[in-house]
């Protein structure tokens, strides 16, 4: 039981990392990774949203859509659930930490369009996870996302001061770096 949960968690964080192996959530990965501090803020907000959205969408599916036979509405329902969770997070962050709210600014609503969030919600249904598994899967996905986002941000801060040839400056070299990191993550294949 406990071993299964550990495997699920490690699988979501490392082996099937949402960004570098499944290529979900690339927009915030490229967009919010130019500064370490913002990346840390973004990753904590995403972790919160993803875990919560994963749980909420599971509950909506199991307790609302399935009893009513409306499974075919799940994508649009999940989008709505995610938007609500993001809005809720935005309100909480604005009240509790105005500074973080200022730093995250436009990125908070961006979580709504983070395909990793919708991806987790849909994968939970596809893999027939139960309540605890959905929560863990959501948290694992978020932890993996946060880890690579923060590491990538630290690396991009270093690349920003490197003598990169002009045609490759900025996003191009960032993409190449993301590709190299994805290569490295293939080393985890087969662990779980």
């Amino acid at each position: 039981m406990l071993a299964d949960y550990t495997i699920l968690l490690l699988g979501a964080i490392l082996v099937n990392n949402f960004v570098l192996v499944q290529f979900l959530g690339l927009c915030p990965f490229m967009g919010v990774s130019s500064k370490l501090e913002t990346a840390i803020g973004m990753s904590s907000a995403t972790t919160f949203v993803l875990t919560l959205a994963s749980i909420c969408s599971w509950m909506t599916y199991e307790w609302l859509l399935q009893p009513l036979g409306l499974e075919y509405l799940r994508t649009i329902t999940f989008i709505l659930v995610i938007a609500v969770v993001v809005q809720f997070t935005e309100m909480v962050v604005r009240k509790t930490s105005p500074l973080l709210y200022k730093v995250l600014g436009v990125f908070l609503p961006l979580i709504t369009t983070n395909c990793a969030v919708l991806g987790v919600a849909l994968l939970n249904i596809n893999k027939e996870h139960n309540f605890v598994e959905s929560a863990l899967y959501g948290f694992g996905a978020a932890a993996g996302f946060s880890m690579v986002l923060v590491l990538f941000a630290a690396m991009r801060e270093r690349i920003a001061v490197a003598d990169v040839p002009v045609p490759f400056k900025g996003a191009a070299v960032g993409m190449v770096t993301a590709g190299l990191m994805s290569l490295a993550f293939m080393g985890f294949a087969g662990l779980v």
Binding site: M155, I159, A162, D163, A184, F188, G190
Partner: protein, 349 residues
């Protein structure tokens, strides 16, 4: 800067980049000799082709970027990358494989990031990982070591050249054999002791040949340590981490075992990685405390991927993963400079 008005006596720093790189090249000699003795001349042809192509790619990149070519070629950093890649590839690899590898290493991993001193990933290891994922058949085709096959089966100098160019008939192919790490990974029926007794590739503590190759790289590494090319922090913590992991997860040699501590320390690319790869000053962590963390995590990852992952040897993957984490480690392990508060202190407060 206030370094202009210093009075005599002036101490001259003897270590320039070129000198350090040439020392590293020299220190690979024992390892190269051991590899050649046990696996034939294939490694030398690897190194030869890799060196020639790396220098050509380096010159091309420098010309495109309008940098002084002779000045940068003189620092030998491209040669070091070539040597490391040539040693890591299976002996007698085909020329095209080596060309892809060095091209990727020099053009994409080094010069796209600004060249010498800026590459966030170790170019040789990034190229190795790329080749391993793209061409798994060529990359796992290791030749049998002396001792497991008669010496006449080893590649001679001419055979090795022909083989790398793809000319010649079947005998030149040599006898390929799984490496000890491969065998241990594939094994799911025999106890380790039985496997050891039945398979000709195993020697005293690790594979035949492999243990000597690792010893030779250890020797070269210790020479570099003695010449203070790098500090002891990263290599020691990596080796300790591998040993501790192997001891912790050693189940007494069942069929699922990942091998004991000595076996893991003297197998595959352990010593080569510990002294020649993770000590790369550019792509590793900078501070001593950072290097301890960096090396230890590489050791842990090496054991994890070896024991439970898909790939039998994990040094390249582990190094690449930690290259990725090195800037983050640096950010949180900045040493305090004399007379200043701890860096990042105001951020935490």
């Amino acid at each position: 800067m206030a370094f202009l008005k210093v009075s005599s006596p002036h101490a001259h720093g003897p270590m320039s980049t070129g000198r350090v790189m040439r020392l590293v090249l020299m220190a690979t000699i024992p390892g190269l000799v051991a590899l050649t003795w046990f696996f034939g001349f294939g490694t030398l042809t690897n190194v030869l082709w890799a060196s020639l192509s790396a220098l050509a790619f380096e010159a091309l990149a420098l010309k495109l970027r309008k940098r002084p070519i002779a000045f940068y070629l003189n620092d030998c950093s491209a040669l070091v990358t070539a040597f490391l890649l040539g040693i890591a590839l299976p002996p007698g690899s085909p020329l095209w494989l080596i060309l892809v590898g060095t091209g990727f290493a020099i053009l994409l991993c080094k010069h796209m990031y600004g060249g010498m001193g800026y590459n966030p990933f170790n170019p040789a290891m990034a190229a190795y990982v790329l080749l391993l994922i793209s061409f798994p058949v060529e990359m796992t085709n290791w030749l049998a070591p002396r001792g497991a096959v008669p010496a006449s089966e080893l590649l001679g100098p001419i055979d090795a050249l022909l083989r790398s160019l793809g000319i010649g008939s079947a005998p030149i192919d040599g006898v390929s054999m799984a490496t000890p790490l491969d065998i241990l990974k594939q094994n799911d029926a025999l106890l380790v002791d039985d496997l050891w007794a039945q398979t000709p590739q195993f020697g005293t503590v690790a594979g035949i040949g492999w243990e000597w190759v690792n010893l030779a790289f250890l020797l070269g590494g210790l020479y570099l340590l003695y010449r203070r090319v790098f500090t002891w922090h990263a290599p020691l913590s990596m080796l300790l981490a591998i040993a501790i992991m192997a001891l912790l997860f050693n189940d007494g040699g069942s069929s699922a075992s990942g091998g004991g501590a000595l076996f893991n320390l003297f197998s595959g690319a352990t010593m080569f990685g510990a002294f020649f790869i993770i000590t790369d000053p550019v792509s590793s962590a900078v501070s001593n405390r950072g290097r301890v963390i960096y090396g230890a995590l590489i050791g842990v990852l090496v054991y994890i991927i070896r024991a439970w992952g898909n790939y039998p040897d994990a040094v390249a993957f582990a190094v690449l993963l930690m290259n990725f984490a090195a800037p983050f480690i640096d950010h949180y392990t900045q040493p305090r400079t004399y007379g200043h508060k701890k860096p990042n202190a105001q951020e935490k407060a």
